[in-house]
């Protein structure tokens, strides 16, 4: 990979940074737009289209999907996009829906009472205000003032895909930046044997190794900048281990630690909390 290219709004994307796969159509991600030359003069290049950045960020290309986009700032507010996994909190329920909070500043998202795996009128989960959910954004609607809809089931198959969608019992929620959440999702979904881990994160692997003896842990990462952690298997150390994991994640997020420092931090935190590994 060549050195990352940082673009500012109005900068053209250089042609040699684009994926070279000419057969498939190029997919444009966030932060880029296609502009056409207003007055194509005969002297100009045959293709009179220009790719221009609209946000400041690192240009990221994906040769496999033939996609190109600009990585957004990691501290930005979460804006729901269909397909995102989020950790939501039930606020109240009405006849057909649970009204859930995804971010404190946005209006409540709707979750159908029957949008759970195998749910019928009789078997649907009875959730109360404050209960946590791991859900997928189904639709966001168009324009202002429209509601975000969530689901805990894949509408096509009727299964909770990927596993784990649905109510989250026990555990704790920690706030992280949206950029960190995206990295954690990438890191946890693809297991790699690289030395530096995926997306520069080794913390989950490290914690998993160290806490294996104590019973391991469960984690659900929401794109909305929330992580749910549970260590109910590790009996008397459950709370301590949960807090330790949360502390590791938030510290790494705040200080942008590199893999070596992440390993050191995990060891230090676990030692401070007196958790045997």
């Amino acid at each position: 990979m060549s050195s990352p290219l940082i673009l500012l709004p109005g900068d053209d994307v250089p042609a040699d940074y684009l994926p070279s796969n000419a057969s498939a159509p190029l997919r444009l991600g966030t932060g880029l737009r296609l502009l056409s030359q207003p007055n194509p003069t005969p002297a100009s290049t045959p293709s009179n289209h220009v790719l221009t950045a609209t946000q400041a960020g690192i240009l990221s290309t994906d040769n496999r999907r033939n996609a190109v986009s600009i990585l957004p700032s990691s501290n930005r507010r979460y804006i729901p996009t269909p397909g995102d996994l989020v950790v939501a909190q039930v606020h109240h329920s009405s006849a057909d829906y649970f009204h859930c909070m995804i971010t404190p500043q946005s209006p409540h998202a709707l979750l159908g009472q029957l949008s759970f795996e195998g749910a019928t009128k009789k078997t649907r989960p009875m959730l109360r205000g404050g209960d946590l959910l791991y859900a997928r954004v189904l639709s966001t609607g168009l324009g202002a003032g429209t509601e975000v809809e969530l689901t805990c089931v894949n509408p096509a198959t009727g299964k909770a895909e990927p596993g784990g969608l649905g109510p989250l019992n026990g555990g704790m929620v920690f706030d992280i930046s949206t950029g960190m959440a995206a990295r954690l999702i990438r890191a946890s979904s693809s297991s790699s044997d690289q030395e530096d881990g995926v997306a520069g994160l080794v913390v989950l692997d490290e914690l998993g190794k160290k806490l294996e003896k104590a019973g391991g842990f469960e984690i659900a990462v929401g794109r909305n900048g929330k992580v749910w952690v549970d260590c109910s298997n590790s009996e008397e150390d459950a709370v301590k281990a949960t807090v330790a994991i949360g502390r590791c994640l938030t510290t790494i997020d705040e200080h942008n630690l590199n893999p070596t420092d992440q390993r050191k931090l995990v060891t230090k935190v676990l030692r401070d909390m007196k958790i045997e590994s």
Binding site: M1, S2, S3, P4, I6, L8, P9, G10, G31, R33, T52, T54, Q55, A56, G57, I58, L71, P72, S73, S74, N75, R76, R77, I79, P107, G143, A144, G145, G179, R183, D196, A199, G200, L201, N256, N258
Partner: protein, 250 residues
């Protein structure tokens, strides 16, 4: 010689985007935040159906805001609405709210000139917009120049220079070199303005366009980078720090 401006990106954690900017020569210090896209309740009829509504609020540090703030808010809104791409996905019918708090510098009385603060306000807004990832068509840079009574152009004028000046000029250029904004007051003629234009373009975009009248300004231009580069470096440094894990890995 005083150093260049000082800026930081994203000093506020709750806002979608924020920036602080300090200009040493005029002493102006501005903190700005941007929230976008946000719902603007209660003003449905005033919202444009296919475009974002840009709102700018300027809060003076020590005094309640008055007519001067309404005026400068109008200027900023006019300049920024040409740069923000309000038709991008998720923005139409929503608002881009920019709040600028003046933390330091000369306070401006009723009817006083807002020109000395204008470059700082513009830079803070553009940096905050960039930090909020609001889609923009280009970025901008702005500068103030004073023409003293003997007809010389003073770069980076201090407040005292500005008071003594025969005319004051604020010019803003987009990153593609368009003249986006020009506000001048005092007595001057068009030829003076033309020279001011050349100088301002040199301050914002480097010396490339400085014409043959190589005056004193040439020498002092060497030690400071053009403002356009300053905006770019500030943003790039921030992104590098944020994506350190990715940049280092590469």
């Amino acid at each position: 010689m005083m150093g260049g401006p000082i800026a930081s990106l994203h000093p506020l954690s709750r806002a979608d985007g924020s920036a602080s900017y300090k200009c040493p020569s005029t002493g102006s210090n501005v903190l700005g935040s941007v929230n976008a896209p946000v719902e603007l309740p209660g003003r449905r009829d005033a919202l444009k159906p296919e475009d974002a509504t840009i709102e700018v609020f300027v809060k003076p540090g020590t005094a309640p805001s008055g007519v001067g703030e309404r005026y400068v808010e109008g200027i900023l809104r006019g300049a920024l609405s040409r740069i923000v791409l309000g038709r991008e996905k998720g923005y139409p019918r929503r608002g881009v709210v920019i709040t600028l708090a003046i933390l330091g510098g000369e306070s401006i009385g009723r009817g006083g000139s807002y020109l000395p603060l204008l470059p700082a306000l513009l830079h803070t807004s553009i940096l905050a917009l960039l930090s909020a990832s609001v889609p923009l068509s280009m970025s901008l840079s702005a500068t103030m120049l004073a023409v003293n009574p003997s007809g010389e152009i003073v770069r980076k004028p201090s407040i005292t220079d500005a008071r003594a000046a025969a005319s004051l000029h604020v010019l803003a250029f987009t990153s593609k070199g368009h003249l986006l904004l020009s506000e001048s007051e005092g007595r001057f003629n068009f030829d003076t303005w033309d020279k001011v234009y050349e100088n301002a373009l040199a301050v914002c975009h480097g010396t490339s366009t400085l014409s043959s009248d190589g005056d004193v300004a040439m020498t002092e231009n060497m030690d400071t980078q053009p403002l356009e580069g300053f905006v770019r470096d500030t943003v790039e440094d921030h992104i590098r720090a944020e994506y350190a894990w990715k940049v280092d890995a590469a």
